[in-house]
Symmetry: C2
């Protein structure tokens, strides 16, 4: 039945199968064969659309980034209109705490990739998106704006506060996924710190 086929669609189908496996059983279990089976295609096809496994992993990672980005936009949009610096930062950070199924999935999969990259730093070079630093600058900028409006503690350094918050979100995610804390309490901890930052006393 080989008619001309939509390559992008096929790649999407396969890469998402990879992400599904990574979520359910870990990246380690995402072998070419497992991905093929999960995607309902033959091993050959996985090889056909992604010549090498590294290519597949990187493509799936980019898609994961896209999913996180669209989640963040969705949360920011839902945070209120008109958006305030505080609501934006709150939404941005809160949506990265594993409280619902989607965030758990995203955070868990990112963690798996993180571990992978730790021992193959060269792979990271080929990955276009570099979100963390951009995110930090973005958050810092909102904090600065809030400070100028008298809506945030003016004594804080915006860059440092932003970096600290991002790191905290990251760490909270780890503890939730590690089972040491549930998502709600992690969110409460984050919210508490946001209240402190955004409540000028």
């Amino acid at each position: 039945m080989p008619a001309r086929v939509d390559h992008e669609e096929r790649r999407r189908q396969i890469a998402e199968a990879l992400l599904r496996i990574a979520d359910a059983q870990g990246l380690q279990s995402a072998s070419m064969r497992a991905v093929a089976t999960e995607a309902g295609v033959s091993l050959r096809l996985v090889q056909y659309y992604f010549t090498t496994k590294e290519e597949l992993l990187l493509d799936a990672l980019a898609r994961l980034g896209g999913q996180l980005e669209s989640r963040m936009k969705r949360w920011i949009r839902a945070a209120g209109s008109p958006p305030t610096p505080r609501s934006i930062v709150t939404a941005l950070l809160s949506c990265m705490v594993p409280t619902d199924q989607e965030s758990r999935r995203i955070v868990r999969t990112y963690s798996a990739y993180y571990a992978l990259v730790l021992d193959a730093p060269e792979v990271l070079e080929k990955h276009g998106t570099t979100p963390p630093i951009l995110l930090e600058a973005f958050v810092a900028e909102r904090i600065r704006t809030a400070q100028q409006a008298g809506e945030a503690d003016a004594a804080r350094d915006p860059e440092i506060a932003a970096a600290g918050l991002l790191a905290m979100v990251n760490g909270l995610g780890s503890s939730v996924l590690g089972g040491q804390r549930d998502g709600d309490s992690a969110l409460a901890i984050l919210t508490h710190h946001l209240d402190e930052l955004f409540n000028p006393r």
Copy 2:
């Protein structure tokens, strides 16, 4: 040449070989054979002293925990005498930021284990030590003490502040290992937040 041999010593030798490999090339590369070679023994011996790989992994993890604990004690001791709540908390958290070779090693190896546990949560049950929660309570208690002495912001909830700091340290470690930041700037971010907590205004 088989004389009666010190089992504990042999186990230590092998487990530490595992940790060395995990540090240098990642836990993934720590196969039984690789560990045997690194430890300078035969594959059979690794099997002899640790029947199964899981047993080896858990034993090495316990030793890693011991190394972290002794590092923490060392740092706390070096933090000044007599120790103040602030110096204790500062030392405890600072020594987990990957600034020197030992902390990088420890944090990196813990990260590798973390990824491993994400997909095999049942393994975690067999692991005796559960440091993170205890650490949190310990830090919270020092904060409370400092508050009572007027040496810390009394408006903060000690438990929440402690949890936030621990998460931040964790997240900072990840970003350093991920190459997005160097150890010194991570430490600066942590220190800044500690200053805020411990400087009643």
